[in-house]
Amino acid sequence: MSPKGMLKAIMKNRTGRIGIILLALIVFTAIFAPWLAPFDPYERVAQPFQHPSASHLLGTNDIGQDILSEMIWGTRISLSIGIIAAAIAITLGTAIGILSGYYRRWLDTILMRFVDVVLVIPFLPLMILLAAYLGPQLTNIIIVIGILTWAGPARVIRSQVLSIRELGYVQAARSLGGTDFKIMIRHILPGVMPIALAQFIRAVSTVILIESSLAFLGLGDPTAKSWGTVLYYAQTRGAFLTGAWVWWVLPPGLLITFTVLAFAFTGYTLEEILNPRLRSAGPHHRVFFNSEAVEKNRG
């Protein structure tokens, strides 16, 4: 299915349409942050702890930076973290999925048992442990999240590879003496790309949520203005005790929620389109957290 066809198919679905529209808004904000934000979020522009006013719609933070501008720039940072970490996870997942599904036998056994292990590790505690151990630089956070979220996608991609490798054109390429490497890159990879894309979109939302959780707990990089970092400062500087949570906690919280929803809606719809087993369930079965989808992801 071409990207254009995919987009069309998503837009036909109500959930997908909401997802795509929200996504477009978020990406637009991230790209045009410098023009949209009224102030430089790193510059102290007013007294600290100002309540919302005409010049600062969401007030100012603990050292007098404009919270609205932080929100807008935070879109860019949270989104970048999401995309980079998800890219790492999906690249790893795709590579392992293809190797495992293509070679099968002992390599498949080893890799899939390894995936099993990674999937049953308690996820958030390990993440917290690694984040604390490696230190709070943004790059470390991205790498940690990336290398801990590849297992689910690897499993989904492997199952796709298993069916593709038996298709006529792959068999033909093999009988004509094509090398394994060439077959995997030229014939299998294009076949799993749509599924990888769906997995990628869903991974982005997971990553954004995880990064926000880590940052909120004080395990993120406190100098990078992601939404989670804004929440961290709100929490440590008493926003929950004073009335400031209305303009300091709710906006980043809602933004995280909407972003996660946007990616989840889009990713889910895409998966539904690509996976006939889910599509046949009919419109009234299109709940967001479809148990069948979970089963599928867990293999």
Binding site: A203, T206, S213, P222, F240, T242
Partner: protein
């Protein structure tokens, strides 16, 4: 993955839900509920409920845990020979009279008559001798070092004793006499492993009547206290670790005071009208911009001076501390301390900073170099301080980027193995010292002496200055107050000129409490309100 996503969403929702209803949080621990609140006149309270952040063990001299509030609570249960007053001047407490010879070697004391232990036994000169000997023999990080200069204690009779020192100790009345608690000989004489001994019979204004580990303490007033019955009949202490939960409990009336200092941004919600109020005063902890004096180009005093000139510390106090702090003195000593030299002053002058950097040839060599300013990631105030300093330094041409590290990594770079002779690996770092390192004048040698093996044990920037070496050596053996002050003044002038580090600010202590329950708190400078003088009058 979908399921995980769902749970994460749920957690996030819960966080917001809890934010929306802070007053509905259940109290984190059971308050002293069977004692009724005294609505009364705000002076003589029957019972007081206080929150402390963590368990302090059985609260005897070997089992208490933290310097604050642990040591402060310990001294409600045990007495010291002298007692620091509001301005940290030692005053006689267990003793009525004292004399000292001209060399500061031989001290004579007379005890108050009729002091008893909580179990009724009399407190005599024998207990004093026993305590100091015991601390000398049974190692403890705080007491053993403090009593090391005591050569011998001679008991003359029940009430009179003399202490003979091996060398003069400049602040002998402050430490050990106002710091080291006196323990009862009849209870401790056979104790060989004090770290596992849990008795807490003291002679102080309060005794522990109930202790539930990790939950509560109950302190009851000592009715037979030699200076009169303490003002509050009972103090219930609950352990609340979380800061937000602590002040929520204070707001709704589950507790009457919190031992922890409040963040400045909350003052507006707790001060003035209403059921809560605050009491503030100077704090003696310090916030510093630590400079690696060993590393190029910071080994040049001109560059360090330029850094000092570039930093707007008044802005830091107003922004980061919201005014609840004192701007740093370039001589390190807090302006509210007796040995402060008022002639030294921080000068904020970015133009002069640029001139100094040009003079030092900084721009040619390091104009493009980016320096790292390290800070602890788990301390938001320090991160904010670092961010503001980076702006200040970038403005004069020193390129600085802020690096937030976890505290263990930071300590390892700045102060590897807590041993200054092990070297260091950093450019600049936000740092801070606790109050004792500010109050005790002998610590200046530790901070600034260039002999990192023996004397400069806190000199984490490897600062070197011959005059400072000589002066800090002299101060540790000088007992004449006039000469002491003279040395202190000279030291502060040299420090201001050579800038081993930049003293940024000293955060104030801010204590929130409910005045309807008890309103007679005494703020001891740098120590806060948790001291004997809040409950007992000076003799």
């Amino acid at each position: 993955m979908t399921k995980r996503l769902f749970y994460l969403c749920l957690v996030l929702l819960l966080i917001f839900a809890s934010a929306c209803s802070p007053t509905e949080d259940p109290p984190a621990a059971e308050p002293a509920d069977e004692v009724e609140d005294e609505p009364g006149n705000g002076v003589e309270a029957v019972s007081l409920r206080m929150a402390i952040p963590r368990d302090e063990g059985s609260l005897n001299p070997y089992t208490y845990v933290t310097g604050y509030p642990g040591h402060n609570l310990l001294l409600l249960i045990y007495d010291t020979v002298f007692q620091l007053d509001e301005n940290n001047v030692p005053q006689p407490w267990l003793v009525t009279d004292h004399e000292v010879d001209s060399e500061g070697i031989n001290w004579n004391f007379t005890l108050h008559d009729g002091i008893t232990w909580h179990d009724g036994a009399p407190l005599t000169a024998g207990d004093i001798k026993f305590s100091f000997d015991y601390y000398g023999e049974h190692s403890h990080s705080r007491w053993t070092n403090a009593v090391s200069a005591i050569e011998e204690i001679v008991i003359e009779d029940e009430l009179n004793f003399s202490i003979l020192l091996s060398e003069p100790v400049p602040a002998f009345l402050t430490n050990p006499l106002s710091d080291v608690p006196i323990i009862p000989e009849h209870i401790w004489q056979d104790v060989s492993d004090p770290d596992s001994f849990t008795d807490h019979t003291g002679s102080g204004p309060y005794q522990i009547t109930e202790y539930v580990p990790d939950q509560t303490y109950r302190l009851h007033a000592n009715a037979d206290y030699f200076l009169g019955k303490p003002a509050v009949e009972e103090i219930g202490m609950v352990i609340i670790e979380d800061q937000t939960a602590t002040f929520t409990a204070l707001r709704v009336g589950d507790i009457d005071i919190a031992s922890r200092s409040m963040q400045p941004e909350l003052v507006g919600d707790f001060a003035g009208e209403g059921e809560t109020d605050i009491i503030t005063g100077p704090g003696f902890t310090s916030s510093l911009l630590q400079i690696n004096n060993e590393r190029e180009p910071f080994n040049d005093p001109l560059v360090r001076k330029a850094i000092s000139r570039a930093i707007d510390i008044d802005d830091l106090v107003d922004t980061v501390m919201l005014g609840y702090g004192t701007a740093g003195s370039p001589g390190y000593i807090h302006p509210d301390l007796p040995h402060y030299n008022p002639d030294v002053e921080h000068i904020y002058d970015p133009n002069e900073a640029v001139t100094l950097l040009e003079e030092a040839g900084f721009i040619d060599t390091y104009g493009d170099h980016e320096f790292e300013l390290l800070t602890r990631s788990n301390d938001p105030l320090r991160v904010r301080t670092a961010e503001m300093i980076a702006v200040n330094l970038n403005a004069v041409g020193i390129n600085v980027s802020v690096q937030a590290l976890d505290s263990a990594t930071l300590d390892d770079l700045v102060w590897p193995e807590f041993d200054t002779s092990q070297g260091r690996d950093y450019d600049l770092s936000i740092w801070g010292w606790s109050a004792p390192i500010m109050i005790d004048p002998e610590r200046l040698g530790g901070l600034f002496h260039s002999d990192l093996e023996d004397r400069g044990t806190l000199n984490i920037g490897a600062y070197t200055n011959n005059n400072v070496d000589t002066l800090t050596e002299e101060i540790s053996v000088t007992v004449d107050p006039g000469r002491q002050q003279d040395i202190f003044n000279q030291l502060q002038v040299i420090l201001a000129d050579t800038v081993p580090f930049v003293t940024l600010y000293y955060p104030d202590g801010i204590y929130a409490y409910r005045p309807d329950t008890y309103d007679n708190w005494t703020y001891q400078n740098g120590q806060g309100v948790l001291n004997k003088l809040s409950f007992v009058n000076m003799p």
